[in-house]
Symmetry: C2
Subunit: 203 residues, 2 copies
């Protein structure tokens, strides 16, 4: 599958490496061109499947540069977190409570099929869940059932067991996934490792 990744940070790089290992044809898009970095619009035009790996505060600008015509009709996995470090540590969220980046993107591009996923774990764990032994979970959310099934298939190829993938329902679930970040940051701090996640259990 041809995949376009927006964002050249550790998340974009990690996902690109894994997807290429799986045999996909990946173009990474950036604000600035460079080796293995093409403009956002070129990456988005290239991809049949798209991944937003930009920072949550920059995502709408990156997608605007990508162009609606390159997004419409496509599955768009939104991995972003709206972390705002401008007010010091710990970071706050630049959007939360009654909205989320996932919802913003879906509202702005109603013809894209946005699936929020992977934003709740550190980059290395996204593509190698076995780095934590035992069961742990990955919540996903989105309006389009077919898109979520396609993303779940991809996540399985990353190593996530099907029953580890927890469907939170429509894209408003992104609010829950993004507001989990303060807990993740506290766990990172208190447990002394970014290799931390949650297993969702019920009685």
């Amino acid at each position: 599958v041809r995949i376009g990744i927006l964002g050249t940070g550790i998340v974009g790089q990690t996902l690109a490496a894994k997807l290429r290992e799986l045999g996909h044809d990946v173009v990474i898009g950036s604000r600035t061109e460079g080796e293995d970095k093409r403009p956002f619009a070129e990456a988005a035009a290239h991809g049949e499947l798209l991944i937003n790996a930009t920072g949550g505060g920059n995502s709408l600008a990156a997608l605007e540069a990508a162009g609606a015509e390159n997004l419409n009709g496509k599955v768009l996995i939104d991995v972003s977190n709206p972390l705002d470090f401008s007010k010091g540590m710990p970071p706050t969220l630049s959007i939360c409570n009654d909205d989320s980046v996932g919802e913003q993107i879906q509202r702005t591009y109603p013809d894209a099929k946005v699936v929020k996923a992977l934003n709740t774990v550190t980059a290395a764990l996204m593509v190698e869940p076995g780095l934590i032994s035992g069961e742990h979970s990955l919540p996903i959310a989105g309006n389009d059932e077919g898109a979520k099934a396609q993303v779940a298939d991809l996540l399985e190829k990353f190593g996530w067991p099907r029953d580890a993938i927890v469907d939170l329902g429509d894209i408003a679930g992104a609010r829950a996934q993004e507001m989990y970040l303060p807990l993740w940051l506290r766990l990172y701090q208190s447990q002394g490792t970014a290799m931390v996640n949650i297993h969702i259990v019920k009685g």
Copy 2:
């Protein structure tokens, strides 16, 4: 131990029943008096250990009615969530992101020893964690190490194994615990049961 519980909702009632079963002398405080309901100040004066089981939006008013002189020097377990149902479903949080109810209480009553705990699970599970089989976790946060140790002892008596209790550090961790609520609400909805929790795991 003499315990004062502020709040007569399902959380307050459930905790009171369990604490009495464990042999504690419990007084429940309320805005309005009634059978097994005394004024906030009387419950707070009675307790050597206090529990805030009021709604997060009402907690500061309840504690003001309880009176600083009845709070100072005491361990105060804050179980509240600032859920705001006034804007429809799902509820938003009336305070979040750069503050929390737990922090507000600690700031307002610097001589109380606030420990945020139990707000991340449904009332029945608070006092009977075995209702979910297998391992699952309970985050706590607070500035006073001795107070957290005392709360952990009590949680063990409720049935929480010591290694299920995850210390998030100082009271600013309450932000993480309260912002977890949107995820809890989504899990409640998508899993079809309030008997849901997370097991915190690391690699």
